[in-house]
Symmetry: C2
Subunit: 423 residues, 2 copies
């Protein structure tokens, strides 16, 4: 077997790195320890022995299944809706998304609507690449996922509009801001179109997972997301959008508080069913949170401390990408202003092999394909980089390996093409 000098040298380099027995994890958008430490005061917020929330409810006892007023107000500020249109739930916005789908399936999107479980087919529009857990949730409901391409403004609205004309298409699920994994924020035009477009299904739902609403990397350069509820309301589609948020990447991942927000009808319906589903959410954790972060200003100040930890990591990743791949044409990427991910697009047919080489060298990336419905990255070109969890030193090593792997895969392909020509 003939091997070009370049490829051989690259492989030797990777082999040396592999011998270091590295164990680097860039697979998930997890906060690192210093970020978690930022919320240490959270755990002392009940030390005064005062357990009463506004309205006099003792948070240690049953009651207030809509969440305590303070928590509803905080999320209302975050999601730009009055507290009465916000339900503050448990520890997971994904769980609130799953519960919203459950209601659509079992009870109907609103009272009187046909439960989706009574329909032969339910489909969702899935801008892709997207968040793998969204796709997993849809799969557990047997919802057929229809991928739609993402560009710099968000989902390809021509495709979206065409699909929404099918009555079996019941919704669209997305991270509209600092999107997982592309890092882009839906443009005002896309937000407007999503609110305005006709949908064949009257009970069409936008699952608006506003996971990174305040997760800016820079104090002065920020994406702005247009107000989807205002736009829906203006177009007579107030019930179309269900908004979700959590503090999982503000305080603790999986031990924060979450919220659902939407039209009065959507919230009333959710409340009616949720009160029977669980009596109440954990209000002690709600009160703890609103004492630690009483309003949006406090949240913003807190997020600056997160940004101070995350920014150097994002900048390191981008610097190495530029240094190793800039101008090479081997890959393209976007420099996001917030969120948790950098999305690397390789040449078609490379992502899986790059992932494999990285894995062999001790770097765990998000498994190839998972950013697409059914794990099918048809072009095999998408690599999600999650810079938050590793240290800067680990991140540098991991990125050196990743870019090296990418170069190897390219050299392999060049060689293969050369052999084809020779053969």
């Amino acid at each position: 077997m003939k091997t070009s000098d370049g490829l051989s040298r690259l492989r030797q380099k990777l082999e040396r790195l592999r011998r270091q027995n590295l164990c680097l994890d860039m697979s998930r958008g997890k906060p690192e320890e210093r970020q978690l430490d930022l919320s240490a005061p959270l755990l002392r917020m009940m030390d005064d022995g005062n357990f009463l929330a506004e309205g006099g409810v003792d948070v240690r006892n049953y009651g207030a299944y809509q969440g305590i007023p303070e928590a509803r107000r905080l999320f209302g500020e975050l999601l730009r809706l009055p507290p009465s249109q916000v339900l503050s739930g448990g520890n997971s916005s994904l769980n609130l998304i799953s519960d919203a789908l459950k209601r659509c399936y079992i009870n109907g999107a609103l009272p009187g609507d046909t439960p989706w479980c009574k329909l032969d087919q339910v489909r969702f529009i899935c801008p892709a690449p997207g968040y793998d857990w969204h796709f997993h949730i849809l799969e557990t409901y047997h919802i057929e996922m229809l991928p739609v391409a993402m560009d710099a403004e968000g989902p390809d609205m021509e495709q979206v509009r065409r699909l929404a004309a099918d009555p079996s298409v019941k919704g669209l699920i997305c991270n509209p801001m600092y999107n997982n994994p592309t890092g882009i924020t839906f443009s005002p035009r896309v937000v407007e179109d999503l609110a305005a477009m006709p949908t064949a299904a009257a009970d069409f739902r936008l699952i608006w997972d506003h996971a990174y609403a305040v997760h800016h990397l820079y104090p002065d350069r920020r994406d702005q997301l247009a107000d989807i509820y205002e736009a829906c309301l203006r177009h007579g589609h107030a019930d179309r959008v269900l908004m979700f948020a959590s503090t999982s990447k503000i305080t603790y991942a999986g031990a924060g508080i979450a919220a659902l927000a939407g039209s009065p009808a959507n919230i009333a319906w959710a409340e009616e069913l949720i009160q029977y589903q669980l009596v109440c959410y954990d209000k002690v954790n709600q009160l703890r949170h609103v004492r630690f972060l009483p309003d949006l200003a406090a949240v913003e100040a807190h997020m600056k401390r997160h940004a101070a930890i995350l920014r150097p990591k994002f900048e390191l990743v981008l610097a190495i990408l530029e240094q190793e791949l800039g101008g090479s044409g081997l890959a393209r990427w976007h420099a996001p202003l917030g969120g948790y991910f950098i999305c690397l697009y390789t040449e078609d047919g490379c992502a899986r092999r790059v992932n494999q080489l990285c894995q062999e060298a001790g770097v765990t990336l998000t498994p190839a394909g998972v950013c697409y419905p059914y794990g099918q990255d048809i072009k095999d070109n998408t690599i999600r980089i999650a810079p938050s969890y590793p240290s800067l030193e680990q991140l540098e090593q991991a990125m050196r390996i990743l870019t090296l792997a990418l170069k190897i895969v390219h050299a392999e392909r060049r060689e293969e093409n050369g052999q084809h020509k020779e053969g």
Copy 2:
């Protein structure tokens, strides 16, 4: 209108009490403040800044969707199953019940089983009187509820067996120990029969809400509940039972931790779907709890402190019932050895009117009928007394009013009968 002297005197007495503008609440099984205060140390359990659970997971971050090992072990002790057969969830065992039904509806009881939403009809056996929230949950799933009488040993097993022979009957929901509201514990024979009986539906499920597993009132006199899982296993029905528990009435109501336990197949199925539903439960609260209550012995010691608060209330209720109604034949009741309720059976046709008179006099009872599916107490004879929340003084006033109301309703009926005879 003719009024007997007795009735008139009773009514005057009630009128005097009414003028006190009382506001007494015996409607829900809520712990009182002193009980909540027992768990004050719980909130300081993270003060040492050690956030690592067994296995090294940082509870402030994502991961361990089955719950931390310590929490699974604790609930395993409580439910007599190995930790691998326990999933430690969020703050609410009701929510875990609702999620279990959701899986049956959307995904099938086990892989390969027909999802219940694809069936024309799904029915559940509902021992009644029973826990109103169980019935509410079933209603949200449109499950037809089939009431079955409760006696001193539990549900009437002849009725249960007959209903279970119908393939559309998919389960039975119950509090098997210190039952809400009857206070009785299912006898060994009933437990054995529930495990052994044939069911037409292969995916029949016992929703075993072990809400009061350690909620004894007396250190030396306790009900014992036979081991349902062991019995199911012995009869080749290991997958039949899904067990639920929480610390809502051990630590904080609605801010504790909860668990699901069952066969390896049931737990594996739940885990597979739950990991996509929510990433993970609140592990900080799990760790906080297991540090406060590391094992069953610690739980038992803690429950003795609850019992010291609750016991005098139960004894007061029973003493007043005996004093006011003993030997009168106007009502019958059971003296439970644990749990949160005393169930008063009046003569048929009286409960609603008693409830109404109490309400007018400022005493809120559990709304009449709610202990039955669809709120239909056909005999109109069941009053649920929840002694935990009011103070002893309030409880005495409330019980005086309740027993007085019962006497008035009786006198009214006697008089009515007299008028009928005269008419």
